[in-house]
Symmetry: C2
Subunit: 391 residues, 2 copies
């Protein structure tokens, strides 16, 4: 198996973007080509979840490869719900690792705000089980609300811990130009003040407004290649060293213990094993905090903290910038934004910046091993990636 490196990267702001989806997707592709000086690719993957439903478009990858004048390169669309981005990176990894292709562009792109918030929520709910969940009114926020209540009862997590995730990630996003939300918040402001009940209303009890990620448009790109080609670009060398994926039951009710996210555990294990590193070797991680509770749980399931103790590490400051293991220095889905198909590529973009030492004010010092967890459905399809800085 050939080793796989990241050559170039690019990203748009995660926000409301008033451009056609094809142009949103193409933009970070151009940035990534310029970033590494390449002008030709063998294959393009475009991760996207909603183009058929939300943007009246199929064959998005074919449209993007033409928009970028990169024909006759192959082009395919990858859909794995909100984990589409990391799944597309996995395909890119295999394309280079197998020897079939030398230069592979991976773009994640979504334009969710073409529809209103209600319709966007219904669109994301197409991930739920159509007969066991959706017809009973289940949406992703409602699943997350029920999950959070169970987690609180079992492990002692409180609303204050959830708010700490939001405050931390909003703070991190202040130094990320491309983040959706630039709004510093405090525990006092969103939980304790008299205005909290109106500023921070309940969305799906116990989850409140500031526990949920925004609905974002946006796109990000990684160009993957061989060691030889990566070396010639002159950019700091970042290797995609571990790729792990795992699935769990479609319906959450089918799980023996719903508070255990087995697919996260298994995907992370595979990714670390393949990379030959341990969770304790990780310098910086981007976890999938579509809801604040998820950052806490994932930090446990991937092996950073013992089960049930993620909220304690959070409260001690271990996961903020400057802490022992900074999580979501980009602002995470919570504040950087969550254009679903783009998110996994956006997470990888942040990790590459960190390992290159190009993360500016939010740089994690001496970052050598980076990790991403991209969470699909309600944990029924998870992809974890491990990146290593090389000399």
């Amino acid at each position: 198996m050939r080793e796989v490196f990241v050559a170039g990267i690019g990203i748009t702001s995660f926000t409301r973007l008033e451009y056609p989806l094809v142009e949103i997707a193409a933009y970070p592709g151009l940035m990534a080509l310029r970033d590494c000086g390449l002008n030709k690719i063998d294959q393009l993957y475009v991760a996207n979840m909603g183009a058929g439903r939300v943007n009246h478009q199929t064959g998005l990858a074919s449209a993007v490869v033409d928009n970028l004048s990169l024909t006759p390169a192959g082009a395919d669309g990858i859909e794995n719900g909100p984990a589409s981005g990391a799944s597309a990176i996995k395909q890119g990894f295999m394309a280079v690792a197998s020897g079939l292709h030398d230069v592979v562009m991976v773009i994640g792109a979504e334009r969710m705000r073409e529809v209103n918030n209600l319709e966007a929520t219904d669109f994301v709910a197409t991930l739920t089980h159509p007969m066991a969940e959706y017809i009973y009114g289940v949406t992703l926020p409602s699943l997350a609300g029920m999950f959070t209540r169970l987690y609180m009862e079992k492990y002692g997590v409180t609303s204050r811990h959830l708010a700490m995730v939001a405050v931390k990630n909003h703070q991190h996003a202040m130094d990320n130009f491309y983040a959706h939300i630039h709004e510093p918040i405090t525990i006092e402001g969103i939980l304790d003040s008299p205005e909290a009940s109106t500023n921070n209303p309940y969305v799906a009890d116990p989850l409140r407004f500031y526990d949920c990620c925004p609905v974002s448009d946006g796109a990000a790109c990684l160009i993957l290649t061989t060691a030889d080609i990566a070396r010639k670009t002159g950019k700091p060398l970042v290797r995609l060293a571990g790729v792990g994926q795992a699935t769990d039951t479609h319906s959450v009710a089918d799980r023996k213990e719903p508070t255990d996210l087995l697919a996260v555990r298994e995907a992370a294990r595979k990714s670390f094993e393949m990379a030959g590193v341990k969770p304790s070797d990780v310098s910086v991680a981007e976890l999938h905090d579509a809801f604040t509770i998820l950052e806490i749980v994932e930090s446990e399931e991937v092996g950073f903290f013992p089960k049930g103790q993620g909220h304690i590490a959070l409260a001690e400051g271990a996961t903020k910038l400057g802490g022992k293991l900074p999580i979501n220095p980009s602002g995470g889905l919570k504040a950087k934004g969550h254009p679903v198909g783009a998110t996994g590529v956006g997470q990888a973009h942040e990790i590459v910046l960190q390992l290159r030492g190009e993360a500016g004010k939010r740089q994690v010092k001496n970052a050598k091993v980076g990790f991403t967890c991209n969470f699909g459905g309600f944990g029924n399809n998870v992809v974890c990636l491990t990146f290593v800085k090389e000399k």
Copy 2:
């Protein structure tokens, strides 16, 4: 790069299927597992084009892997329009070739008839260029109609040649239990008889009803694996020896010569080169005859006949069962049916049957090299596969 073999295969009837999409997709997966005796996979790919739009479902691959009780295997959706099926096979190829996975299930599935024919046509038109084509009322049949007129004028193809494709493929489908259409037709009946104007009306001049494939539901499956595992199944050995993909401009009007399908030419060239065979080595082929003209043109562009002479070979009987190079023994998209995301896997299913010698009454004698051409958009993203019978 590891060699990649087909272990098991499965298929549903291509027809109107009154089951949920997830169950339609899962069924040939079970058949394929039973076919080869395996009961575990490392990864599932599900090719599908319309679930988000037509079936209110995303994360289809995650749903199918759970339905088949194959968790925690990885699962990803692949979308490349009507070429999604062969694109998914390409991903499966790379997964095994790279060494990342040993057993990969590839399913193509579509349930188009959940909507009416008008809506299905609009759904497929999401492939066209949104600003250069769709807003002017362009659909796939209208593009094909204009293309056919040009081809007739340039190369002397007539309506009679088009009808010969339909008659041949309807005849082939008579011996395919899984085909959508079991209706023998004649040139006399669909062109010359007084009833022809009502039985075979114009859809997009010069294309008539019998020049267009039906709107089908259906699914097909291939299990790909290593040489060692394939040998242990005891099934005849079929190797996926060549994988070629190429793209062309999104808008057909941007092409220098619209009658040249450059992506077909390039994808076929790559596929043959990788397999180390020539077009003249091919024993049997499945080409993408969504419209009759396409079988003729593809038979030229992939290298079976010189440009502009496909219709002559057709008229001489070279491409029918018993001819020099049988094309679409399954009945093709024309009569076997065209559940868009499933089609490329269905084509490969037929080729594997033929190379195994399991094609029954439609068996091509001494079939040793098989070829498929899966055509996305209006030729803007094409995937060609070459299969070789091994000892």
